[in-house]
C-alpha cells in the first residue's frame, strides 16, 4: 500500500536506494557472476605496435592441462564472423565517406597496436588458460610503427591500413570558410594559439568482463557484459559480427563499476566469448586485468589543434578558425568518428556570440589503442581550446579576462541562439553563472591571497572557465543526417502492479549515476508512489523492450522524459477507469500525486484503487478499455540539451618542486531542473576530479615505437584523495525548453568545464615568468622546468 512519506519527489536529496547493496558487498557486477559449467578465457595480445603475423603455433598450448580450445583470427574468419562495426560515418569535405578499415575481433595477418588480441585460450580455470596462452608461439615480423597524431600524416609514415592512404580516416570541415576569411581580413587583431589535448585512459575502477553463454537446447545466446548500453551491444554484435537474430541473443549488463564512456563500445572480447561459448558448448568467462585494460579499453581525447581568433578594436570576437588533428588509434571504435566532429567542432562557439566559425578536422590512424568518447567526449577538447584561447586573447588585447568574456557572451535575451556551427542553444544565462561563481570563489579578493602566498614562497594563480556543452543526445533524425547509424531515443515502461507498486523498465543504464533513486523520485513526484515501492529495472535486453543506454548525459533528459511520457499515458488511462468507477465524465477527472478526483467534489480514488480495478476488472468498462495498467513510451528528443556554467580554480605552485596544488575549486553549473541535488553535486565533483586529473596528472604516453609507457597504475597517475581539493558545487537553473522535465544533464559538466580553469590558474600563477601557455598535464617536472629555466636565465 502506498502511504504518505516525507517528500521524496523532484528536488529532494534522497539518499540512494542502491547503496544498501553496494555498501554490504551485495552488488552484482559481471565478474561476480559465475555460470554453471563455466570455462575461462584469456586473450593473447600483441606485444608489438605493428607487425605481420607469420605463424601461430598452438600445438604445445593445446596439450596443456585444462585447455578446451584455442581460437585465432582465421578460425573466426572461416565462419564468416564480421568485423567490429563502427556506429558513425563521417563524410569528407568532398562528400566521400571516411576510410573505414576492417577491424577483426582477433587479428588477421597483422597486428596494429600493442594489445591487439591475437588468440583466445579457453580452459577449465583462469590460471590454466593463462599458462596455456604463454605457451602459444607467435612469429611476428615487426613493422615500423607510428603513434603520434601529427606523425601519422607525415610523408613516409608507416601505413596501417590499405584502405586508408596516408593514415587518413577523414578530412572534414564545418562552417563558412569564405565568411571566416572575410572576418579575419577586417580584424584589428588575430590571436593564434596551439595546443595538444592529452590522451587519457578512462580507467573505470571495474575492469571489463564478458561472459558468453549458449543454450544448446534453445539455441539462445546470452552475453553478460560490463556495458553502458546492452541493447546497442546486442544490435551491433548480433547484426554485424555474429549474425545472431535479436530474438536469440540476450545481453545483460548488471551492476557496472563506472564507465565514463569506455563501456559504451562494442568490444572484440564480447563477440569472442559469445561465439566461443557456442563452439565449446560451455559458458566462457573473460575478466580483464588492469594491465590489459590499459591496452584494450578505448582511450580518450588526443587532439592537436591550432585556433585563431579575430578581434575588433573593442575586443569583440569577429571570427574563429580552428584546425584539429584527432587520433583514432588503430581501428575505429563504435562512436570514435563523431567525437572530434559533431561533439567537438559544433561546440566551438562556446558561450560566445562568435559570428563566423570555420573548423577543419582530420582524423588519423596510428598504432595505438582505439580512441573514443571519454567523459565529455569532444566537448572538453572544444572547451579547453576555447577557454585557454580566451585567456590568451584577453591578455594580448589588454582586456581583463572576465570582462573579455562578458563582452562576448551570448546574452540571456538571445535564446534560442543559433550558432554558426549547427547547434541551436535553447536556454542559458552565462552572465548569471559567471556572477554567481565569481562571488562564491571570492574572485575580487584574490590578489590579497596571491600576495599572502607569495610571502610564503608560493606562486598562487586563479583561473576561470565559462562553458556550454551539448548533451542529452540526441534527436534521431538530426544525428542520422550527421552520420549516426542508430536512433538516439530512449524507452520507458511504467508498470503499475495491482496493489499499486511500480516497476519501471528503462533503456538507460546506471553505472554509478544513481538511477534507481532519481528515476524513482520522478515516479514519486508524478504518480505519488513512495520511492520504496518503485523498482527501476535496467541493463537486461530480456526485460527492457529496447534502449540506447547511458552516455552523453542522456539518462534523465532522454530516458527520464520517456518515463514521463509513459506516466502521462498511465494517468490518461487511469482517468478513464476513475471516471467509470466514480460515474463521472473523463473530462471532469483530475489527477495529482496518486489521487484521482472528480473536479470540484470530494469524490476520489487512489492510484491503487484504479490499478486494482484494472487488474481485477469486475466493475470495469471492459468493452472500451483493456485491463491492466502498463504503458510504454519511446521519447525522441527535439534538440540536444545545453548545460553550461562557470568554473573557477585557484592553485598554488611550489617553485622549488614544481608541484601544483589545487587550493580552491568552485563550480556553478546550469544543469536545468535538478531532481536530486545530492546526486548532482556528486556527479559534478567526480567530473571535476577527472578534469583536474587531465590538467595536472594524467597522460597516456606512447613512445615512438608504439609502446604504452604509462600502462599501469604504477605509471599512469590517477588522482588520489591527497591530490584533490574540496570541490564547491552550486547550481543556477534555466530550464531546458524542449523536454517535459526541463532537465539538461550533469554527468559531464565537471570534466568539461574544469581543465581550462585549472590550466588558466597555472598560467596565471606563472605570469611573472613570461609563460603564455603550459600543456597538460602540468606535472611537477614540467613546472619545475619552467621555473628553473627562468631562474637560470636570470642568473
Amino acid at each position: 500500500m502506498n502511504v504518505v512519506t516525507p517528500f521524496e519527489g523532484i528536488g529532494a536529496s534522497l539518499r540512494r536506494k542502491e547503496d544498501f547493496r553496494f555498501l554490504q558487498g551485495r552488488g552484482q557486477y559481471t565478474d561476480d557472476i559465475n555460470r554453471p559449467g563455466q570455462t575461462h578465457a584469456v586473450m593473447l595480445r600483441s606485444p608489438h605496435a605493428h607487425a605481420t603475423i607469420d605463424r601461430i603455433d598452438t600445438a604445445a598450448a593445446r596439450a596443456m592441462p585444462g585447455v578446451k580450445a584455442i581460437f585465432t583470427g582465421p578460425d573466426m574468419a572461416a565462419e564468416s564472423i564480421g568485423g567490429i562495426p563502427c556506429g558513425w560515418q563521417i563524410h569528407n569535405k568532398d562528400g566521400s565517406p571516411m576510410a573505414e578499415p576492417m577491424h577483426p575481433a582477433l587479428a588477421l595477418g597483422k597486428v596494429r597496436h600493442v594489445g591487439d588480441p591475437v588468440a583466445v585460450v579457453i580452459a577449465e580455470t583462469r590460471s590454466q588458460a593463462r599458462d596455456a596462452a604463454e605457451a602459444i608461439v607467435v612469429d611476428y615480423t615487426p613493422l615500423p610503427a607510428v603513434s603520434g597524431t601529427e606523425a601519422a600524416l607525415a610523408p613516409g609514415a608507416p601505413q596501417l591500413h590499405e584502405g586508408a592512404p596516408g593514415n587518413l580516416c577523414y578530412d572534414w570541415h564545418i562552417g563558412d570558410k569564405a565568411a571566416q576569411e572575410a572576418a579575419f581580413a577586417r580584424a584589428a587583431r588575430v590571436v593564434k594559439f596551439e595546443t595538444t589535448n592529452n590522451r587519457l585512459v578512462p580507467n573505470a575502477m571495474e575492469p571489463r568482463v564478458a561472459i558468453g553463454d549458449f543454450d544448446s537446447f534453445s539455441g539462445d545466446y546470452t552475453l553478460y557484459t560490463t556495458s553502458q548500453n546492452p541493447h546497442v551491444i546486442r544490435l551491433l554484435m548480433g547484426a554485424f559480427v555474429l549474425h545472431i537474430p535479436e530474438s536469440k541473443l540476450r545481453v545483460v549488463a548488471p551492476d557496472v563499476g563506472g564507465g565514463f564512456g569506455s563501456k559504451i563500445y562494442h568490444y572484440a572480447e564480447e563477440a569472442i566469448v559469445t561465439w566461443a561459448a557456442g563452439k565449446v558448448k560451455r559458458p566462457v568467462k573473460w575478466t580483464c586485468e588492469r594491465s590489459e585494460s590499459f591496452v584494450s579499453d578505448a582511450h580518450g581525447r588526443d587532439h592537436v589543434s591550432t585556433a585563431e581568433l579575430a578581434l575588433d578594436e573593442q575586443g569583440k570576437i569577429l571570427g574563429l578558425k580552428v584546425h584539429t588533428l584527432a587520433n583514432m588509434g588503430a581501428y575505429l571504435s563504435t562512436f570514435a568518428p563523431c567525437v572530434p566532429t559533431y561533439l567537438y567542432a559544433t561546440l566551438l562557439s562556446g558561450v560566445y556570440s562568435t559570428p563566423v566559425i570555420y573548423a577543419e578536422v582530420k582524423a588519423v590512424f596510428t598504432n595505438t589503442v582505439p580512441v573514443d568518447a571519454y567523459r565529455g567526449a569532444g566537448r572538453p577538447e572544444a572547451t579547453y581550446l576555447l577557454e585557454r584561447l580566451m585567456d590568451v586573447a584577453a591578455a594580448e588585447a589588454g582586456i581583463d579576462k572576465v570582462e573579455f568574456r562578458r563582452r562576448n557572451f551570448i546574452r540571456p535575451d538571445q535564446f534560442p541562439y543559433q550558432t554558426p556551427v549547427a547547434l541551436q542553444y535553447d536556454s542559458g544565462n552565462y552572465h548569471a553563472t559567471l556572477d554567481a561563481c565569481l562571488e562564491t570563489a571570492g574572485w575580487a579578493g584574490f590578489e590579497a591571497r596571491r600576495a599572502e602566498a607569495k610571502a610564503r614562497g608560493k606562486l598562487r594563480g586563479i583561473g576561470i572557465s565559462t562553458y556550454v556543452e551539448a548533451c542529452g543526445i540526441a534527436p534521431s533524425a538530426v544525428v542520422g543526417s550527421l552520420g549516426a547509424r542508430a536512433g538516439l531515443y530512449e524507452v520507458g515502461v511504467i508498470r503499475v502492479h495491482p496493489t499499486g507498486s511500480v516497476t519501471v523498465l528503462t533503456g538507460a543504464h546506471s553505472h554509478g549515476q544513481g538511477h534507481e533513486t532519481t528515476f524513482a523520485q520522478l515516479v514519486a513526484e508524478k504518480l505519488g508512489v513512495p520511492t520504496a515501492n518503485v523498482d527501476i529495472v535496467h541493463g537486461d535486453t530480456a526485460k527492457v523492450p529496447f534502449g540506447m543506454g547511458t552516455y552523453g548525459s542522456r539518462s534523465l533528459a532522454v530516458g527520464g522524459s520517456a518515463m514521463d511520457k509513459a506516466m502521462d499515458k498511465i494517468i490518461a488511462k487511469g482517468k478513464r477507469i476513475a471516471a467509470h468507477l466514480m460515474e463521472a465524465s473523463v473530462e471532469d477527472i483530475e489527477f495529482e500525486r496518486g489521487t484521482f478526483r472528480v473536479a470540484g467534489t470530494d469524490k476520489t480514488k487512489s492510484l491503487t484503487d484504479i490499478s486494482l480495478a484494472a487488474y481485477v476488472p469486475h466493475n470495469y468498462p471492459i468493452e472500451e478499455i483493456e485491463p491492466g495498467l502498463e504503458e510504454t513510451a519511446f521519447y525522441d528528443p527535439k534538440n540536444f540539451t545545453y548545460p553550461g556554467g562557470c568554473h573557477i580554480c585557484e592553485v598554488e605552485i611550489d617553485p622549488d618542486t614544481g608541484h601544483v596544488e589545487v587550493v580552491n575549486f568552485t563550480a556553478v553549473d546550469d544543469v536545468g531542473r535538478v531532481i536530486n541535488p545530492m546526486i548532482v553535486e556528486g556527479q559534478v565533483q567526480g567530473g571535476v576530479a577527472q578534469g583536474i586529473g587531465q590538467a595536472l596528472l594524467e597522460a597516456a604516453i606512447y613512445d615512438p615505437s608504439g609502446q604504452l609507457i604509462s600502462g599501469s597504475f604504477m605509471d599512469y597517475t590517477m588522482p588520489r584523495a591527497g591530490d584533490l581539493p574540496d570541490v564547491g558545487v552550486a547550481t543556477h537553473t534555466t530550464l531546458c525548453t524542449h523536454n517535459p522535465l526541463g532537465v539538461k544533464g550533469c554527468g559531464e559538466v565537471g570534466a568539461i568545464g574544469s581543465p581550462p580553469a585549472v590550466m588558466n590558474a597555472v598560467v596565471d600563477a606563472l605570469r611573472d615568468y613570461g609563460v603564455r601557455h603550459v600543456e597538460m598535464p602540468a606535472t611537477p617536472q614540467k613546472i619545475w622546468g619552467i621555473v628553473n629555466a627562468h631562474r637560470l636565465a636570470a642568473e
Binding site: 563506472g258 565514463f260 599501469s712
Partner: protein
C-alpha cells in the same frame, strides 16, 4: 594442494588452494564472497582491501596460504545480524560517498582501519593522505572524506548519532 583454514566473518572455512592462489581469489571464487573486488594488478587501487586480524590488507597481494589460521573480515561481515549498518557504511550512504560502488568495499574497509588507528581523530587533510592506497574514479573523494570525518566521531564514541550531511 595446500589446505588452509580461515575464519571469515566469524565462520570457519577449510579450503584447498593452489600455492599461487591469492587471498582475494579464495574469497571471491571459493567462498563466493564477491563483495571484495579486484580493480588492478599492481596493488594500487585498494578495491580488494579486507581486514586480517583487525588490520587492513590488500587481499590481491597476499597468498591464501599466508593467511592460514587467520581471522578475516570482509565487507559482507560489517553490518550487524539485524541489518544495522556499521557507522562507516551508514556514513558513506548519508554523505553520498559512493557512486558505482566498485571501490566502495575496499574504501570502507580501509577507512575503518584508518579510523581505528587514529583514536585521537583525523583532520580532513590527514584522511586524504590516509586514503593513499585506495582509488575512486567516480566521487573525486570529496564525499568520502566527509563521510570518514563524520564516521570517526561515532566510532570513537564522541557522538551518539552520525552528523547529517548538509544535503537535505
Amino acid at each position: 594442494m595446500p589446505q588452509v583454514t580461515l575464519t571469515v566473518n566469524g565462520t570457519k572455512h577449510t579450503v584447498e588452494v593452489e600455492a599461487r592462489t591469492l587471498l582475494v581469489e579464495t574469497l571471491r571464487e571459493q567462498l563466493r564472497l564477491t563483495g571484495t573486488h579486484v580493480g588492478c594488478d599492481t596493488s594500487q587501487c585498494g578495491a580488494c582491501v579486507v581486514h586480517m586480524g583487525g588490520d587492513s590488507v590488500k587481499s590481491c597481494t597476499i597468498l591464501a596460504v599466508q593467511c592460514d589460521g587467520s581471522e578475516i573480515t570482509t565487507i559482507e561481515g560489517l553490518a550487524a545480524a539485524d541489518g544495522t549498518l556499521h557507522p562507516m557504511q551508514e556514513a558513506f550512504r548519508e554523505y553520498h560517498a559512493l557512486q558505482c560502488g566498485f571501490c566502495t568495499p575496499g574504501m570502507v574497509m580501509s577507512a575503518i582501519d584508518l579510523v581505528n588507528k587514529h583514536p585521537d581523530g583525523m583532520s580532513e587533510k590527514e584522511i586524504r593522505e590516509g586514503l593513499e592506497g585506495n582509488l575512486c574514479r567516480c566521487t573525486g573523494y570529496h564525499n568520502i572524506v566527509k563521510a570518514i570525518a563524520a564516521a570517526q566521531d561515532v566510532m570513537h564514541g564522541r557522538v551518539k548519532e552520525l552528523a547529517r550531511a548538509a544535503a537535505e
